[in-house]
């Protein structure tokens, strides 16, 4: 059959598993509360791939069959494999515990062996972390972590082209802390053991670039890099442009046993130290030609024509030397040593050996990082940048965009009240977007619309004016945008006299839950506007530590100054106003203050000191006022900028006077990674959601126990923010690396509790079902385009099973008000929460066989709105629940209209039934006549009489059904085909059928009556005469069956075959 396959707002539950008391939880074995228990709730990814996201690593190989196999490493979205040069991609790293990719290398000796270095090496402020080096020996199907677990990030991997077991891993190492686990590593046994063969001179110097002479694998060049990032500063090289730095360029001619530093004294033409980041590469086609970009006070490209002994200074244009920490790779044409690319703010290319470069980024996004030149056709070039992956077929001048990599890096997400609701969010270097949560035909790239430029962050529909959107970009820039004209207005608060406002890279915005249109925004002061940004009130003093040591961003960068707002510190980072008490506002800062006002900003109290054992200076990554009680708040703390990747979550119920530790490094309760967001459900106070750098965790007991949610094969990607759409009970996730994900109805999760976990099985409540309007939309965009799925069509049915169902029937039936089974739904068998969907349709009509399938009539009519019973039979146990079926909220027709449509469809269905019986009877007459005729002699008059009878019966049949076979567009329409067209028309609209459609039912009924009369006449005349003749000849008479056999299920194929073959003779 696989081959056939190819081609609580209104939750209703009667016998559902119900809420348990807290006491019951105390006796529960919480081991059942795990990922398997909750992930069956599923989740869908709506992308988008239109903005895509940063590509940090890339490797490809040409295959013997002419295709190109491509592995793409997203900065924080895993590894994607294409076996068709990029037309289609498949994520192949989703089961691994990290998604940040620094390096990918395909073993040139065996293309099924792939090496992946986790942890991106483009060390911007928002960069994620890795956990070592992985190897696949089956083309990416399965992976094994083969070492370097404390590397945090890996810049490059080289496999010896003559010996696949010899591999070099270039490890810059930890970004935020000292580490001895950095430098250049080598294995000679395929990853079983690793040796540190080149170590930095201090604990902040690692390997950032490596190149091997393709013709002599023993010859290596390695760029060592001294670097460090803190929450408020960054250095590439030493603490200042001229300070001592551990960076340097080294070479080995014996496979890394010994190393020689390339220096200005020993190597003529090479620049003087100190250095920042270095990129080095040997031309694949000429071992003597070596290129090195060296960051120094005089950053430039250098070239050696003698294998690194002497050097010549080449290009030092702005794009060559731009942001070296972020752009440091060189890619030389595999056949032409004079042609090379440097990915940079824009992609630049030289055709003269590095003497000059031109901007060839053209239509790409920019901020490029990786390039692959196809050795089979060096005009064919791939580049990965902050906006995704691009292909050029003209040598790197004009570019195709890959619209199939949904690796977008959202910072935040919000939703509106439209139906379907829209999703709003800003992305790293990819602006601010509005997308549809559902759209006819699926959520394609075209369903996303950009509203700003730059790096996007918070974004909200203005609840006071639906025509406008608030959108924020880096460093607290905020605009109010007209969603129709895209006119934008800068409404960022401005500094006072002799004052500097400190805006975080990711400045917090908060809509007041009490006043539509009131917006809060934080620099070091909290601002509030009540007039769409026309004016701002400053409602706090400086709420930060105002530590001057953390305000030296103009000195940030190390060798090359880099002060892009990404390091701005001592700022407000999180804001939350209590939905229970206006003017009660929580503020968290990036330097460890947790402030509370209960009087609308008149007075503030820093309560962070009340949290016991919390290290000082951490980022308050999120503070969330409780949804049910003004004294309650949840706060998460992030210390990853100190090298501490552990989770911290606390709760207060007394306005911050005391705090309960929900998650700490000593008791992580299974959470992994630093926490970005903690939110309480808006319906069930015990339901908490925590987004960390490595995924989504859920607690159903107020933070006592946590389970990772992996529904929809959700990878271990950073969850930066989440939103709940209250009408739809949808949970919407902003991931930093895999776009937007949606759990369409979290009602079952709200009702999962200690008691349910210990039940063998039972239903869980869901939202009432809507018969959503059927609609067409979208268009074919080929295979190289991402389309996100819509919510699954049908009434959602949720149930829980303590264990996987293996033996005997697990049956789910739907019953109408009379207790009749109107549908049976295939069950899911997984452990934990299961979801199945009922189409809300009755069975399709019985349709007489003809030349082709009557496609409209393969669908049953939608049931009238109402309450239906769902019965699950599991072994000897049965469970009942109710499903409420409602009209689409958007419907402009009434339940009575729907009933009229249903009734009309059922009238047509009945017409089909009459036809089916009539065709069966006619065919039966013909079959018997033919059979009897065949028994008679050639000259027997009765033979001719029977033949004529059979022919007449068939003539009548052919008035009912089309019979021309052959597979062409025959245009042959008979009663059956006309009826199918009418059925389709009535079924296409859920409202009251048109008068002419109802009239058409009458017309077709009359026409069928006419045919039926012809058959009746046939029976009275020709058949009666024939039977009389047969009886005279002592033959059994021809019988007319009462109708076609009831065939509730469509019948077995054998029965159908028999049925079909009996009536055919064409």
């Amino acid at each position: 059959m696989k081959n056939i396959h190819r081609h609580l707002a209104a939750a209703i539950a009667t016998a559902c598993l119900c809420a348990a008391s807290a006491n019951a939880a105390d006796k529960t074995d919480w081991s059942r509360f795990d990922s398997g228990a909750i992930s069956g709730l599923n989740m869908r990814n709506i992308g988008s791939a239109t903005m895509s996201g940063r590509i940090a690593a890339l490797d490809a190989v040409d295959e013997k069959d002419g295709k190109t196999t491509l592995y793409v490493g997203a900065a924080s979205g895993g590894v994607w494999k294409s076996t068709d040069g990029g037309t289609t991609f498949k994520p192949v790293f989703d089961r691994e515990p990290v998604q940040s990719i620094g390096a990918i290398t395909v073993d040139p000796t065996n293309h099924d062996t792939i090496w992946v270095g986790t942890g991106e090496a483009w060390t911007r402020n928002s960069v994620s972390v890795g956990d070592g080096i992985y190897k696949s020996t089956d083309g990416g199907d399965t992976w094994k972590n083969v070492g370097l677990p404390d590397s945090e990030r890996i810049a490059k991997i080289i496999v010896d082209p003559k010996n696949g077991n010899t591999v070099y891993a270039c490890v810059p190492g930890k970004l935020w802390s000292d580490s001895a686990d950095r430098g250049l590593y080598k294995t000679t046994d395929g990853g079983a053991h690793w040796n540190l063969i080149l170590k930095g001179g201090n604990l902040s110097t690692g390997c950032a670039s490596i190149s091997m002479d393709a013709n002599n694998p023993g010859v290596l060049f390695a760029g060592m890099w001294d670097f460090r990032r803190k929450g408020w500063t960054f250095r590439s090289g030493g603490e200042s442009p001229t300070a001592k730095s551990g960076s340097g360029l080294f070479t080995s001619s014996d496979g890394g046993k010994s190393w020689t530093e390339i220096s200005s004294t020993a190597n003529k033409g090479f620049p003087e130290k100190p250095f920042g980041r270095i990129a080095v590469t040997v031309a694949p086609s000429d071992s003597k030609i070596v290129y090195a970009f060296v960051e120094s006070t005089d950053s430039a490209l250098f070239r050696s024509d003698d294998g690194g002994k002497t050097w010549d200074k080449r290009d030092k244009s702005q794009l060559m030397v731009w942001r070296p920490f972020y752009f440091a790779s060189l890619i030389v044409d595999p056949k032409n040593p004079e042609r090379l690319f440097k990915p940079d703010l824009n992609l630049i290319q030289s055709l003269d050996g590095g003497k000059s470069f031109a901007n060839v980024g053209g239509g790409t996004h920019g901020d490029s990082h990786v390039v692959w030149i196809d050795p089979r056709d060096t005009q064919h070039v791939y580049v990965g940048d902050d906006g995704g992956l691009w292909q050029s077929f003209d040598g790197g001048n004009k570019w195709w965009k890959q619209n199939n990599l949904p690796v977008s890096q959202f910072y935040h997400v919000s939703v509106d009240g439209d139906d379907p609701y829209h999703v709003y969010g800003g992305l790293q270097d990819n602006a601010c977007w509005v997308g549809d949560s559902a759209y006819p035909g699926g959520i394609g790239n075209a369903q996303w619309e950009n509203m700003c430029g730059g790096d996007g962050f918070f974004m909200f529909a203005d609840p006071a004016d639906q025509d406008y959107i608030y959108a924020e970009t880096q460093g607290g820039a905020i605009i109010r945008v007209n969603r129709h004209t895209h006119q934008m207005r800068d409404i960022q608060p401005r500094a006072g006299y002799n004052e500097k406002l400190r805006w975080n890279w990711n400045t917090p915005l908060e809509l007041s839950p009490h006043e539509k249109g009131t917006l809060y925004m934080g620099a070091q002061f909290l601002f509030r506007t009540r007039d769409h940004g026309q004016s701002w009130d400053r409602i706090s003093p400086d709420l930060t530590t105002n530590d001057p040591q953390k305000q030296k961003q103009e000195e940030s960068g190390g060798v090359t100054v880099d002060n892009s707002a990404a390091e701005t510190n001592t700022t407000i980072y999180s804001i939350s106003e209590s939905p229970k008490q206006a003017g009660l506002i929580w503020v968290g800062t990036d330097d460890g203050n947790l402030q509370l006002t209960r009087d609308d900003g008149k007075s503030w109290t820093n309560v962070v000191g009340n949290i016991r054992d919390l290290p000082k200076g951490e980022w308050v990554s999120w503070v969330q006022a409780g949804q049910f009680d003004a004294g309650t708040a949840f706060a998460s703390f992030d210390r990853h900028t100190y090298g501490d990747m552990a989770p911290y979550i606390y709760e207060t119920r007394d306005y911050g006077k005391s705090w309960t530790a929900l998650v700490t490094p000593k008791d992580t309760k299974g959470l992994h990674g630093y926490v970005h967001v903690i939110k309480q459900d808006i319906v069930n106070p015990q339901l908490l959601f925590a987004g960390t750098e490595f995924g989504l965790w859920v607690s159903i007991d107020g933070g006592g126990h946590w389970a990772q949610f992996k529904g929809g094969d959700f990878p271990a990607v950073a969850v930066r923010d989440l939103a709940i759409q209250p009408r739809d009970d949808s949970l919407v996730l902003a991931t930093h690396g895999r776009g937007i994900w949606i759990v369409d109805d979290i009602t079952p999760l709200r009702n999962l509790n200690a008691q349910v976990l210990n039940e063998e099985a039972g239903f869980l409540p869901v939202q009432a079902a809507q018969q959503r309007i059927s609609a067409y939309g979208g268009w074919s965009e080929g295979d190289a385009s991402f389309t996100g799925p819509n919510p699954k069509d049908g009434a959602r049915i949720a149930y829980y099973q303590k264990s996987r169902h293996l033996f005997g029937k697990l049956k789910i039936d739907v019953l109408d008000a009379k207790g009749e089974v109107i549908d049976s739904i295939p069950a899911n068998v997984r452990r934990g929460i299961n979801l199945v969907y009922w189409s809300m349709r009755v069975k399709p009509p019985r349709v007489p066989p003809a030349a082709q399938v009557a496609f409209n009539s393969t669908q049953g009519a939608r049931v009238p709105p109402g309450t239906y019973t769902v019965r699950m039979t599991k072994g000897d146990a049965t469970f009942d629940t109710k499903v409420q079926v409602n009209l689409d909220r958007r419907a402009n027709y009434t339940v009575a209209d729907r009933q009229a449509q249903y009734d009309a469809a059922q009238r047509v269905s009945a017409l089909f039934g009459r036809m089916t019986d009539l065709v069966y009877q006619l065919s039966a007459v013909r079959m018997q006549a033919d059979a009897d005729s065949a028994k008679l002699g050639e000259k027997d008059a009765l033979r001719s009489q029977l033949a004529q009878l059979g022919d007449k019966a068939d003539e009548i049949r052919k008035k009912i059904v089309a019979t021309k076979q052959g597979g062409a567009i025959t245009g042959e329409e008979r009663l059956r085909e006309h009826t199918d067209t009418l059925y389709g028309a009535i079924m296409s609209y859920d409202g009251k059928p048109a008068d002419y459609q109802l009239a058409r039912i009458d017309t077709l009924t009359r026409e069928l009556d006419d045919v039926a009369k012809q058959f009746s006449d046939l029976q009275k005349n020709e058949l009666a005469k024939a039977n009389a003749a047969l009886q005279s000849a002592k033959h059994a008479p021809i019988m007319v069956p009462p109708g076609a056999p009831a065939d509730k299920s469509g019948g077995s194929a054998e029965a159908a075959k028999a049925y079909f073959s009996r009536f055919e003779r064409d």
Binding site: M1, G36, D141, A827, S857, A1053, A1056
Partner: protein, 251 residues
């Protein structure tokens, strides 16, 4: 995929779970065979006929068909799916595959390409992809355990003689298949089908999964099979599987 119908279990739960590290391919297959009812009973099945309902779910909604599948040792399979009295046939006789696709008016059999036949050929052996793999020239590796929707399943990798791959996941307590992931190169392009199994029922003392749910990665489509009844060793017409000798004889 209905090959898994021969993945039977006779003594569910009788086998204590053993260390994932210690177990070998042959041990797992032996436990699988024993759980299914024993190798003797499995090998005694020479034909298998299964009937039930098929729900095909796609972007348009869903469509219900009835189906029958016939299998005959060593490696023949024929599947029929019927709606409105029209029957789609796909068959593999161990050498070639053919089909009848009548839904748009054609009733004559068409030969299928060798690549399109692969999934049928892989599924055809009545003993499934584990039992008898050595004799068929296939290879199997044990890859440890992996989470399958909350079940920490044993994972086996079957490499068929033709190069196709199937990952087989066995329940850790009962040793029956709970999921297979089939990977095939079709005209040079990798296709991937994921199939989940449940509702195991006894047929002549041997367990078969009566719930089979298959989805193809990337296309969003899903086929759910519900077997109503299955019969072992039913006499089958010898001409059932081969390409029809006359235009209508395949129907």
């Amino acid at each position: 995929m209905l090959k898994s119908w021969v993945t039977m279990l006779g003594a569910a739960g009788l086998f204590a779970a053993v260390s994932a590290q210690a177990i070998t391919v042959d041990e797992l297959i032996a436990k699988n065979a024993a759980a299914r009812g024993g190798l003797a009973k499995i090998e005694a099945i020479k034909t298998l006929k299964a009937e039930g309902k098929m729900r095909f779910i796609g972007g348009f909604g869903s469509i219900d068909l009835s189906f029958v599948q016939y299998k005959q040792a060593p490696d023949s399979v024929r599947t029929e799916a019927t709606v409105q009295g029209l029957t789609q046939v796909q068959s593999w006789d161990g050498k070639e595959a053919w089909q009848i696709s009548p839904f748009q008016g054609r009733r004559d059999p068409e030969r299928m390409s060798a690549d399109d036949a692969k999934s049928m050929a892989d599924d055809a052996p009545i003993a499934g992809s584990l039992i008898g793999y050595k004799e068929r020239g296939d290879q199997i590796e044990y890859l440890g355990t992996e989470d399958v929707d909350g079940t920490n399943a044993y994972k086996l990798k079957v490499t068929f003689k033709n190069g196709d791959i199937e990952y087989v996941y066995l329940d850790p307590d009962h040793y029956v298949e709970i999921r297979t992931v089939g990977q095939r190169k079709v005209r040079g392009t990798l296709t991937e089908d994921i199939t989940d199994y449940g509702d195991y029922e006894l047929v002549d003392g041997v367990y078969f999964p009566f719930s089979i749910n298959t989805r193809t990665r990337g296309d969003g489509g899903e086929t759910v099979l519900t077997v109503d009844k299955a019969q072992a060793n039913a006499p089958l017409d010898a001409t059932l599987f081969a390409f029809p000798s006359t235009p209508k004889s395949g129907q």
